[in-house]
Symmetry: D2
Subunit: 330 residues, 4 copies
């Protein structure tokens, strides 16, 4: 499960996107560069090929090119998020145009410089399901952001759906329209602290934050969607890119899922924790891709302007505790 959101634009126009990736521990995640001017072929046998115009930095697992989160040089970011029980992949057409879920971000970020371009490019794509080597076909959907808009790609029973995302938030099942309708159950939420008087008996909130009464505290996709919209819509104005990155990181913190809190049944029938494996901060206007992984408290950042996009390269993420708190004295 995952949470993705676009921060409100900074006063200088900076646009920053945050995203968490949740999964049971154990998937071999890697930071990944995908080159520009390179011809890629779909993982689908006999599938589509395309040549990239833009370099990409992102995260992939198992198959290096199957980037599931990333940003391109043109300032477009893409994020694949789980969509259990709803994602409905197309059947292969064997017409040389088949694609699979792992191709979507490499293809669209590799070739599009805006959401407008991306929506046109995505129309009619035949997105099939492919097991990249994890033992099953991951059911996903995608959210893409540029400086001005956001869109969602959903594999629905009736076909590929490409719709605008007016709130810039995505989590997991069900489809976006359900979540947007669900937001209507949370009107009136406010950062302030309402007071109520009942026949002269004044009720003051016990502390600040009472205007968020009724906000769900669970970690289901609808719960996280509602909280993410609240976090983004109430966030204070920020001045510039650095401030937007920091504010995005503060919001991301609240979606950090620690080991133990939510558990699913693993392949062996035993409960297994689902944890936030990594979080990313994509600065669309600044060309920066920052990340923090579960095992390292440090936030790292890649500057796309100085990244070599001539070849594909990957860096495995640590699977045991690494990094450290920074020693200080006084």
């Amino acid at each position: 499960m995952c949470t993705s959101f676009k921060h409100r634009p900074a006063a200088d126009g900076s646009v920053v996107v945050g995203r968490t990736m949740e999964f049971p521990a154990g998937l071999p995640w890697q930071l990944q560069v995908l080159p520009k001017g390179h011809t890629f072929s779909s993982m689908m046998p006999g599938g589509r090929s395309w040549t990239s115009t833009y370099g990409i930095v992102g995260f992939s697992a198992v198959v290096e090119t199957a980037v599931m989160d990333g940003i391109n040089e043109a300032g477009v970011s893409g994020h694949g998020l789980y969509m259990t029980g709803f994602c409905h992949y197309a059947e292969p057409r064997h017409d040389g145009n088949d694609l699979c879920e792992g191709d979507v971000i490499p293809l669209l970020l590799g070739t599009c410089s805006s959401i407008a371009e991306l929506k046109a490019a995505a129309a009619g794509m035949n997105i099939c399901g492919f097991d990249p080597g994890v033992g099953f076909v991951p059911p996903v959907h995608f959210v893409f952001h540029d400086k001005v808009s956001s869109c969602i790609l959903e594999m629905r029973p009736e076909g590929l759906s490409i719709v605008d995302n007016p709130v810039g938030v995505a989590t997991n099942a069900p489809f976006l329209d359900w979540h947007l309708t669900n937001l209507r159950n949370y009107t009136g939420i406010t950062a302030s602290n309402p007071t109520t008087t009942i026949d002269g008996f004044a009720l003051h909130p016990l502390g600040n934050g009472g205007g968020l009464r009724g906000l769900p505290g669970d970690y289901t996709p609808p719960g996280r969607f509602v909280r993410a919209v609240a976090q983004v819509s109430l966030a204070a104005d920020v001045a510039d890119g650095p401030a937007a990155e920091r504010s995005t990181l503060h919001i991301l913190n609240t979606f950090d899922i620690n080991a133990g809190l939510i558990r699913e049944t693993g392949p062996d029938g035993k409960p297994v924790s689902e944890v936030t494996e990594w979080s990313t901060v994509s600065n669309l206007t600044g060309g920066r891709y920052a990340y923090r992984t579960i095992n390292d408290p440090t936030v790292y950042v890649i500057d796309l302007a100085t990244t070599d996009f001539s070849s594909a390269r990957s860096k495995p993420m640590p699977d045991t505790l690494t990094g450290s708190f920074v020693p200080a004295t006084l």
Copy 2:
């Protein structure tokens, strides 16, 4: 407002405590060392004096010695948290034993090596209210932790209350007994994902985390108390101190309050954000005190074993964005 919790002990016996400090931005926080073998005098005129046995590292504001969060060399940590509308300070007795809220942590951490000692030392203390220079007397209460237990000091209308804290969690108003009763409204919360079948119509949760249904998502003190207990009680087993520190940091993340999310009315009648100014990780068994401030994404750590406790020293915390994400390449 603040959230404090003790992590479940690690397999190797390590005990780690986490804590956030929320306040409107602007208070001049400083990291602080208080020396051992030093004689301190209460801020109360003609108040009590004491000589410290243990060095302390912590955070203070305005008055350097008035540490509001800290750990001592003996592995006891203390945390002052707001208690708006409930805290009821004693009247000065002018008998040479008066203390104020800013003395409590320096005195008790300076002289006690366990909760048992601390409870005995605190009994009968006359804790008055004192304005340290912020324009009002801050209403607070205190939670103290050692490796085996936790206790709460509350200034109640009927006098000082010193009680055990069976769940190791503290937030803000009201007093602990109310929160413990409130937990009884949240029985049955689970990390797993229940399924319900209604007359053959099977309902599966939309994603993992459904067992936390009904958990409050607001930032009031009761909401944070309930979530902190859920986070701590469901946290996965950890092996040792480093793992407990990291797990504590992951939980602290979820209590990070970003600017804008909750607002109070400032002295000038305008809304002002209440934000998480800093968070601390106190490793009671490892003698380490880690912290992260709102303006710097880096987590720093002080090793008490190598700290010079011969004199008081302070280091102001940044009041503008500082530190940075760590540049990386691939």
Copy 3:
């Protein structure tokens, strides 16, 4: 707004349906008999005509024949409920087959003896919107029940939708599929009282009913849908029709909306209460239609077996307090 639900079948096979009607006070509701063997014409100019096979008892307002809740002699009940903001009526085709929302129940209950028949009869109907004299076209949808199944008719942008209703519950906006998905946020709800122990600290619910933690208490359509499903699915087994009628009445009680609790803005811009104008209990197997109105505490019942269905007749409901508590002595 309205709430409708089918009680779980009694041990003797009795099936009973409950329903509330909410509206601002002032609509001239009437109890209504619609005859059998009578030819009806749609309110739509040049619309469809049909001849009824089954007599109907129900409630209508303004236009006598425009029954919005009722039961027929064959044991099928129909219930029109508001669908604000989602209902999308068809355009008239002027082909002699146009219908309007007020025709749906008279036509389908007048001609169908089962949900199977009704679904076939409803397929392809051209349901347009018609102002029966209230100043606007009421946006509605319909739920129908027989002894074995339930179905929903929705006027969607893409056309008339006729779907099975696996939980037998209907309220208001949005469409049924949204509500069924929303139920998946409430798995694990139970009539029992879970106990939780945290590190040896036992938490018992403060009273019975703790297994319903997280059930929404508001009166929005989603809130009432979730509560109605909980009420129906947890209701104790009942022996026969009379017991099912009483259990249905007990559940209906919980959806009684008193004046003041929820308010909307009236045509004059002033707030106006939305109240439960009347509630009905339709005994599908017993041929009984019971009702209670806002102004009279008495529950009345019509026995369809002894009702004269040779002509249309109506009885206005009181618009001021009437009936009384029954005087008793001891």
Copy 4:
């Protein structure tokens, strides 16, 4: 478990109180008259005696005089409600003044004409626990209402507590002060329907009632307390006693607990439903006591002005379905 509340005064000054009684089915409840001018003796051996000034009508079980809900001729009502796990009865003093829980209402309603008198009379009472023949000592607390105020009697570990009840609502555990503090978690609740706009994306509630977002929907004592306060504080103005009685009945409906919804473990280890056995409407200014029992849909009413208070009399309530919906034709 039980819910009690005082309706807001009618425009003509009428004051009406509502109350439900929940219990597993099977207790032999009876409507009861207690005479005036009669000398009563406590059920406690060697306990206190008193002579009544006012006649009482109410409900009792097992022991006829042990009225647990009632109203007296002077317009004071009293209501015993469960207080599981918190009620702490006094030890007998054997000084001729011992009382038990079953004596409290007969004594105070028999001798007091106002809450002011009643508080004075209750001060210092030694209320012990007594098994009236149900196999255990029922843990209870009491709420009393007159035309102008309400008070609560709680048997606390530190002794009898007599406090004003500013909201006129009582349910069950824990003590009143906890519930009053808990109300502070529900400030800002409103009968209206807030709209929220997020960056130009307007969110309208899905239906009326959205201002009650976050109201708990469970049947725990805190959940019912919060809902009862919302119901009472938002109820529309009423003109007179009859209107207040009807409005009270509408609110009582919402607290009707149907069989199956909440279950506890019976003495034999099997789950047993807790149901609303009866509900009462006490018109304090009109001298009327109305009631409805689980097995009869009719609301009956006793007029105190025409009741013979010369002797004690009781009328058993039905333990099987009785009464009926009233046959109607049209």
